[in-house]
Symmetry: C2
Subunit: 352 residues, 2 copies
Amino acid sequence: MKKENTSQGVKEIARRANVSTATVDRVLHNRTGVSEKTKKRINEIIKELDYQPNLLASRLASKKIISIAIVIPSVSEETDFWEAPLRGVRRAEAEIKQYGVSTQVFFFDLNDKDSFSGKIAEVLRGDFQGVLISPSYIEETTKFAAECELRKIPFVFIDSNIPELHSLSYIGPHLFKSGYVGAKLLTYRLERDKKILIINISKEIDNFNYQKIEEGFRSYFQDRGQSGEIVRIDIRETDYQSVARHLTYVFHLNKDIGAAFVTNSRVHTVASFLKNSHRTHVSLIGFDFISENVAYLENNVIDFLICHRPEDQGYRGIMALYQTLVVNAQVSKLSYMPIDIVTKENYEFYHN
Amino acid sequence: MKKENTSQGVKEIARRANVSTATVDRVLHNRTGVSEKTKKRINEIIKELDYQPNLLASRLASKKIISIAIVIPSVSEETDFWEAPLRGVRRAEAEIKQYGVSTQVFFFDLNDKDSFSGKIAEVLRGDFQGVLISPSYIEETTKFAAECELRKIPFVFIDSNIPELHSLSYIGPHLFKSGYVGAKLLTYRLERDKKILIINISKEIDNFNYQKIEEGFRSYFQDRGQSGEIVRIDIRETDYQSVARHLTYVFHLNKDIGAAFVTNSRVHTVASFLKNSHRTHVSLIGFDFISENVAYLENNVIDFLICHRPEDQGYRGIMALYQTLVVNAQVSKLSYMPIDIVTKENYEFYHN
DNA sequence: GCAATTTACGGGCACGTGCCCGTAAAGGTA
DNA sequence: TACCTTTACGGGCACGTGCCCGTAAATTGC
């Protein structure tokens, strides 16, 4: 019921080394003002005792506040996907606020590259010790990463990754495998000799993410030696009218499409089209647990949603920075999220 | 970069109330020795300031250690399922050890009611402020819960629930819906007019858990007006030989079984049987991400595993007790885990 | 009315760490 | 030698809370 009473921590080290706690403190934070000799002696004792600083006392005594910037897309009419990571960020924040961590969120417009540039510039102008960012634009992110590296500011990528940049960590899906799983699920309701349609709806052109998903998707069929015809279409406008126009055309050209795979969360737009054009026999699969999609899941228009625990991504992203900046612990560089399969039957229990 | 310098907390309350911090402290911990008048005055100020105690300082100053008992089945040769919740418990422990929380795990033998009774008696003999328990035996758990209530010790159920008892929280699956999802998945590969076999392998007789799963399973078919024949079998021995014997008999009687649904994690035993008897055309679904099952998932013998984030269950269980005992916060009484669908294609990313 | 007890409160140390400030000693410059 | 700078360290307060101990004041008993 009582804690053991052995004197602990810095004091004990100081006692053994015949120095004051201030000197030990200097060694621990490798500040100047300690002779090599005593420094070595103290370090040995630290190792010997396997000293772990008391975070409680440390954070209590310290007046430093650690600020983390979060750069993510704003919730748009098109998608409320980023609500979930934001919830995770808030949850993490509430947990570690006590330790003197504060966060500031910068929302950019996913359809506007300039707003992204603007926000990262704003972050760099501010005084942040860590950054959690969704690297939506490669070129801009690359510049940003270089600047962070220069200033020794750790940054974490969530939801999509740019492996070449030295992020502290990537937290998000394994895209290739997600596509692979999507293909597997598609085959369940797919009738023989029917065509498969891959739909990519996105304003961005350099979407290497979707490529990886598509590769995974196709590789499933290659692995099984199945080579039913796969049609693909890129749609560069995200509004319903444009999507419907393109799809009408594709379905006109290909009468025997049995299944459609949408490479991102805009599957609800396709679902809407399928429903309106009475094509609900087409098996439909897409990504992300957003309310519009869930509605069509409920309707049986969407068969499966593939999800990557967006809330957890936000939570883990902040926690990774916390581990690095406060606890001074290692974090794994690559943290792939589970590929969750959400259906009409289990969605009500899906957390986020 | 610096924390604001406004004097905070107990001191500020004391200053405003014209009393010492000790008196405020007495009110906060409603100890005796404060007149009604000042008590009221202080409470008003506390409310006004919306005072939140600083956990860091509180835990640092306090010498009290909070002990939590965990009562779960040991990992047996039959299943390593409980490894995962234990990992979650350990993870939570590591996180909150700093706050003076210690845990002690009591393993019982899932096939031995007496070992369960023995362990809960041991817990009651010890000095624990909270209990996380898998309520495997109803009668014994009921007695235990009564005793806990008497002593005002909060207890949390994980993995299975006994709703009548006043647990602080239940953390685990919604069994009915899990069965429902199982049925949905089973239909994907099921050919028309084939029979479905429900297999229940368990030594325990009063397994109301399995009943709920089976109800959910059957209700899926009822909802859809499908009434393909469903055969069920109870097997009271868990070793392979016994299971194989029973199954041989059932498959002999029913030549046209197209799918099998196992109501718990022993699906690997059935998988083994199906493989050995060259019946892998039978669609097979069961529960839990344990290594034996994953092996058969990899083999294509098991089609789907339904999982309930066992590691998370352990983690959340401890955290619920921590919230109650240390933070003094509310926790939700019912915390259903997601019904995760695990396949050959996505299992490698499943966290636990 | 006086001693004994109880009530109601304040003073102040402790928890382990961070960090400011002071200072003796060593070294450098004229 | 006198004065200044640098190095190497110790003293000690602060963070916000818990809680022991001491003590006036109020209450009780006779």
